[in-house]
């Protein structure tokens, strides 16, 4: 199985490398979302990014140089980054004031998905592309994509290495962060923009399912295995990349889409971790009771 996967490497190397890099990048950024308990923030930003691709496809269809714009990776990517940034910053500014964060997140998710489909419904290639994005596929990643993902991952690692504790305090206790001199609003908006850029560059190559899966699942798995929040920053990317690797190998062997398979592997591992925790709690319960009674 592994030998066959290695044999396929020259043909799919950009797709695989892109998948690994995105798994690491998105799971790093997912730590902040999980620590702030804003799980669906990532899904809403990814959906807004899909709407950006749909807008790019629709405007390309109307434009005299439409096909050229469609083939140019930067045009849809610029739309994806712009709309995901608008959504992310909008959620930071509006949520929690007059409406709950969940309500605003739900609104963006629904508006993004419905309008993306409506916008490209009549386009000859648009509807198919949006369906592909929603379902996720990694086959479209190019060498330039891989370079870009590596660059953004390196910048993200650098930012987190310098500001890790600041980000954690901001996530778990904004009031104390503010009292420590952190400009919480600016940092929240900055983090949201960075997430929007990462999602915006990822979405066309990986699709919504893989992007959201990598933002969320590796962090949730790591959370059950580590003892400190700081460890999530190395645990989650390692788990993300390992799951992607296993998922891609299995997908190649069983001829199923690699992005979906990677998300299935992450989900099964998370279920196993949750089960392990339940079993551990169950077995530690009686001993704790007996020591208490002593």
């Amino acid at each position: 199985m592994i030998a066959e996967f290695i044999e396929s490497w020259p043909l799919f190397q950009h797709a695989y490398l892109g998948g690994f890099l995105l798994a690491a990048l998105l799971s790093l950024l997912g730590v902040q979302l999980v620590a702030r308990d804003q799980i669906f923030f990532g899904a809403a930003v990814a959906q807004a990014s899909t709407l950006g691709i749909a807008v790019a496809l629709a405007t390309a269809a109307w434009h005299p140089f439409g096909m050229h714009l469609h083939d140019n990776n930067w045009y849809p990517r610029a739309w994806a980054i712009t709309l995901s940034a608008v959504a992310a910053v909008g959620m930071e500014l509006i949520a929690g004031r007059r409406e709950s964060r969940e309500a605003v997140t739900g609104f963006i998710f629904l508006f993004g998905s419905a309008s993306a489909m409506a916008l490209v419904a009549q386009s000859p290639f648009g509807a198919e592309e949006v369906q592909r994005l929603l379902a996720s596929t990694l086959i479209g990643a190019t060498a330039r994509d891989v370079e870009l993902f590596a660059l953004v991952l390196a910048a993200t690692i650098l930012l987190i290495a310098v500001h890790r504790d600041r980000l954690l305090l901001l996530a778990i206790d904004p009031a104390t962060a503010s009292a420590a001199g952190i400009r919480t609003r600016a940092w929240s908006i900055g983090s949201a923009c960075w997430l929007a850029i990462a999602v915006g560059i990822s979405i066309r190559a990986a699709g919504l399912l893989y992007v959201f899966g990598c933002l969320l699942l590796p962090v949730l798995i790591a959370k059950t295995l580590v003892r400190e929040m700081r460890a999530l920053y190395w645990g989650a990317p390692l788990i993300g990349v390992a799951c992607a690797m296993v998922g891609f190998v299995l997908a190649h062997a069983w001829d199923v889409p690699p992005a979906q398979m990677a998300v299935v592997v992450m989900s099964l591992l998370l279920a196993a971790c949750w089960l392990r925790r339940v079993v551990q709690r169950g077995s530690s319960q009686p001993s704790r009771t007996s020591s208490d009674s002593r």
């Binding site: 009031a175 104390t176 400190e228």
Partner: protein, 239 residues
């Protein structure tokens, strides 16, 4: 000759935008004072705290800060409770050392401060334990340690005893009283508990009718002043 105050607010109006919340004629925090801030809900206690911490500029008037309080490095803040989700893994060591955010210290100094802060609140023996295995009172002491790790000159505590049982409450106040005596830390403690203020305060700040009245405990801790603040007759003020 007395030292200049750490923070002095004079003839100030505090608020947000066009919304005036609190009038402060004179409020000066001296080194080693233990202030208790009392006032009904929505009276402007948080507005005053934000101004003292330098997070809010007054709409008018003056706020003077000594060089010790010119930035956030010598200020500590203890919130009402820990906002983190219990599903988030963290140890006492990690939780408390997050208080060092924004301070430029080497590894050795960070370790020394961590040990000192945990020693002060009596949690050194729990350093490696999960934060979530601590009792409510111990968690509150860990929050205090997270503020103390900054080695603050000014400590701001926003209703830190809410929801604690009397023993845990007293344990927390014991730590604060010792700090006040040994390190001359100035504390500004927000509470609704008049009995607690009566036992531990050196000074009181009372908010009534949109204005702050501040002074020594002996001058302000009277049935009539407390009744004016809360609108009820406090029968339990100790002599």
């Amino acid at each position: 000759m007395s030292l200049p105050p750490l923070i002095s607010i004079r003839d100030a109006v505090l608020g947000y935008g066009r919304h005036r919340v609190l009038r402060v004629d004179r409020f000066a925090l001296q080194r080693g004072d233990f202030w208790f801030l009392l006032g009904p809900n929505g009276s402007g206690k948080t507005t005053l705290l934000r101004t003292v911490m330098g997070l809010l500029k007054p709409l008018s008037g003056e706020v003077e800060r000594s060089p010790f309080c010119a930035d956030f490095s010598r200020m500590g803040f203890v919130p009402q409770r820990c906002e983190a989700r219990p599903s988030l893994p963290t140890t006492v060591r990690e939780f408390v050392s997050l208080g060092l955010v924004g301070l430029n210290l080497d590894r050795e100094e960070r370790a020394v401060r961590l040990q000192r802060a945990l020693d002060r609140v009596g949690l050194m023996n729990r350093i490696r334990d999960s934060f979530w295995t601590l009792s409510g009172g111990q968690q509150q002491r860990a929050l205090l340690a997270r503020a103390l790790i900054r080695e603050p000159i000014l400590l701001v505590l926003d209703e830190p005893t809410n929801g604690l049982d009397p023993a845990a409450e007293e344990a927390l106040l014991d730590v604060l009283s010792r700090l006040q005596h040994t390190s001359a830390v100035t504390a500004l403690f927000v509470t609704h508990d008049i009995a607690l203020a009566a036992r531990h305060a050196t000074h009181l700040a009372l908010i009534r009718n949109g204005a702050l009245e501040a002074g020594a405990r002996s001058d302000l801790l009277r049935s009539d002043t407390i009744a004016a603040v809360f609108g009820v007759n406090p029968l339990l003020i100790p002599a």
